[in-house]
């Protein structure tokens, strides 16, 4: 643990307020920054005052705004699902990407792309979302069962299970890559790298209709998630139906991850990095952790996506590559920290 939080101030309300005061304006700044820069730059003061010309307005409404909101929704989805998974597995290294939930969802999406065809419109998007959800849920259940067999939710077991599942899904997607035609291959490859390119309002609505309720459900379950960290036995003594709680968390997380993966492909490490940063700064209370993970996740992915679409403009970097580039070293640092002492 960092030295500065060795004696964290108690004052529940003041801590909450401090955290939100710190994080919310940050998101707002990133939001305005992201709306403003791009191939056609839109001045921030024009944004605030509503003083924009025809072209700027049309770029803002049809291109910039949907993409910005989508990035925030996906970032929030990844942030909360990471926080919830880490609480559920009682393990600070659990992340939908690392333990194979994302890749399970990805395989299901790949299957539906190759066998059914690329998604268009609301129905197609929900269809892909549903496929990703089924894939994600199946892999979560497999991992949960595996960790139950091994007796406890140990880091080693979970990560090893994650490796195995990632390898399996990789093999599956390999077969699909081999079977696919050129166009499918291209769509599929770019999709696996993770990108928010070509965001439309349809995707925003689909993503919002899943992510927003998920945040709400997880915030409601936050207190029970805290107690679950005492272990299932002790949570039961405190009057919590752990079977139901676990099921709710798994279904909600798989749905959120599924929706995110279906729309944006594999964007790694947001779910791991964001809850960690919040814990380092504000502690582990899920009542704070979950909403803040949503906000910080939104901000972080939005920032990454803004860089992804501007640094090599007019071309575009896949945002998943960018987050992995930052997240990889961070994860290594966490592993080193964990072996050299408790997190």
């Amino acid at each position: 643990m960092p030295i500065f939080s060795l004696t964290r101030r108690q004052g529940q309300i003041s801590a909450t307020r401090r955290a939100f005061i710190l994080v919310c304006p940050l998101l707002l700044v990133i939001f305005l920054f992201s709306l403003s820069i791009g191939a056609i730059s839109i001045p921030v003061q024009g944004l605030i005052l509503g003083d924009l010309n025809q072209l700027q307005q049309s770029v803002l409404l049809n291109i910039r705004l949907p993409r910005t909101i989508l990035a925030m929704l996906i970032g929030a989805a990844l942030g909360i699902s990471g926080a919830a998974m880490q609480g559920l597995f009682r393990n600070p290294l659990a992340d939908p990407g690392l333990i194979g939930i994302s890749s399970g969802a990805a395989l299901a999406v790949a299957i539906s792309i190759v066998l059914i065809g690329p998604a268009t419109g609301f129905l197609g998007l929900y269809g892909l979302g549903l496929a990703a959800f089924v894939g994600g849920t199946l892999t979560s259940l497999v991992i949960l069962r595996l960790s139950k067999i091994s007796g406890l939710f140990s880091v080693t077991h979970m990560l090893l299970a994650g490796i195995a599942i990632n390898a399996l899904t990789f093999a599956g997607t390999g077969v699909l890559t081999y079977l696919s035609d050129d166009q499918q291959l291209r769509a599929f490859t770019f999709w696996t790298m993770g990108s928010l390119g070509g965001a439309l309002w349809a995707q925003v609505f689909v993503s919002a209709s899943i992510t927003v309720p998920a945040i709400w459900i997880l915030v409601l379950k936050a207190r029970q998630l805290n107690v679950l960290l005492l272990g299932e036995e002790n949570a039961t003594y405190l009057g919590i139906d752990t079977v139901r709680l676990k099921r709710t968390i798994i279904v909600t997380t798989a749905l959120t991850v599924g929706a995110a993966v279906a729309i944006s492909g594999l964007i790694g490490f947001v779910g791991l990095v964001v809850p960690h940063l919040i814990r380092l700064l504000f502690g582990a209370n899920h009542q704070l952790l979950i909403p803040l993970s949503a906000i910080l996740g939104a901000g972080l992915l939005l920032l990454a996506d803004t860089f992804a679409r501007t640094i090599v403009s007019p071309a575009e970097l896949p945002v998943g590559v960018l987050t992995s580039l930052i997240g990889g070293p961070f994860f290594l640092w966490l592993l080193v920290k964990q072996t050299s002492g408790k997190l």
């Binding site: 643990m1 939080s5 060795l6 004696t7 964290r8 101030r9 108690q10 529940q12 009682r90 393990n91 600070p92 207190r223 029970q224 805290n226 107690v227 960290l229 005492l230 272990g231 036995e233 002790n234 949570a235 039961t236 003594y237 405190l238 009057g239 919590i240 139906d241 814990r279 380092l280 502690g283 582990a284 209370n285 408790k342 997190l343």
Partner: protein
């Protein structure tokens, strides 16, 4: 009052407890003693309602355990289990408050706040309330859990408190502190306390009645002073009588 009638517990065909009956009255402290693997912790988990019995029945007051919902039960009985480690940065206060928050839909009231602080004071942990739980020693962590568990049933007048080797990490002073608290709860609030112990001398001093378990069966039971004796202990633990100091 807690009554268990002929309870048996088996897991995957292996019988761990068979035909155990016991009664603990209001205001009584019962200690469960016995060699390693005798089934003490299993008995406690049966008495807490966590394990489903293979046979027999348990009454809390005048109601069967199976008639309680998880939530109702959590307001009547609390369990202090062995060593619960938490890998996440929670403060001492946050861990203790879990005892009160789990059953609530709204946040901590002023009353809850006062109860938690009072209990942290009672377990002499209040000066560390803002420390991170994971930085505490084993004994200190155990005292925070004790405060959490007491907070859970503090409003009750005939609560049931189950303790699984509560003294394993505690120093001598705090062992007596723990049982002073228990005795107080028994006398003032009519609590029933059941505790698994290893220290026979401590059990003799602090508990009213004792059950000795051997391989899942009751070996001896009765008043602590009459039951924890050299002949019983030496034959149960396979010791020479001069090796037993109680």
């Amino acid at each position: 009052m807690l009554v268990a009638n002929n309870i048996s517990f088996a897991v995957s065909g292996k019988t761990i407890l068979s035909d155990v009956s016991l009664t603990v009255g209001r205001g009584e402290i019962l200690s469960i003693l016995g060699p390693n693997g005798a089934g003490k912790s299993t008995l406690l988990k049966c008495l807490s309602g966590f394990y489903k019995l293979s046979y027999g029945s348990i009454y809390l007051g005048d109601r069967l355990y199976s008639e309680f919902s998880l939530r109702e039960l959590s307001r009547r009985r609390a369990v202090l289990s062995q060593q619960v480690s938490i890998d996440f940065p929670f403060t001492v206060f946050e861990v203790a408050s879990m005892g009160r928050l789990a059953q609530k839909t709204e946040g901590l009231s002023h009353l809850d706040n006062d109860i938690i602080l009072k209990l942290l004071d009672l377990t002499s942990m209040v000066h560390m309330k803002d420390r991170l739980f994971s930085t505490l020693s084993g004994g200190e962590q155990q005292r925070v859990h004790l405060a959490r568990v007491l907070a859970q049933i503090w409003d009750q007048n005939d609560g049931l408190l189950l303790l699984d080797e509560p003294t394993s990490a505690l120093d001598l002073k705090h062992q007596f502190m723990l049982f002073d608290i228990c005795r107080d709860l028994c006398e003032k609030k009519g609590f029933t306390v059941v505790t698994v112990l290893h220290d026979l001398r401590l059990a003799k001093v602090v508990s009213d009645r004792t059950i000795f378990l051997q391989k899942g069966l009751i070996y001896a039971s009765g008043d602590s002073t009459a039951t924890i004796t050299v002949p019983i202990v030496s034959s149960l633990y396979e010791l020479k009588s001069e090796q037993v100091f109680i």
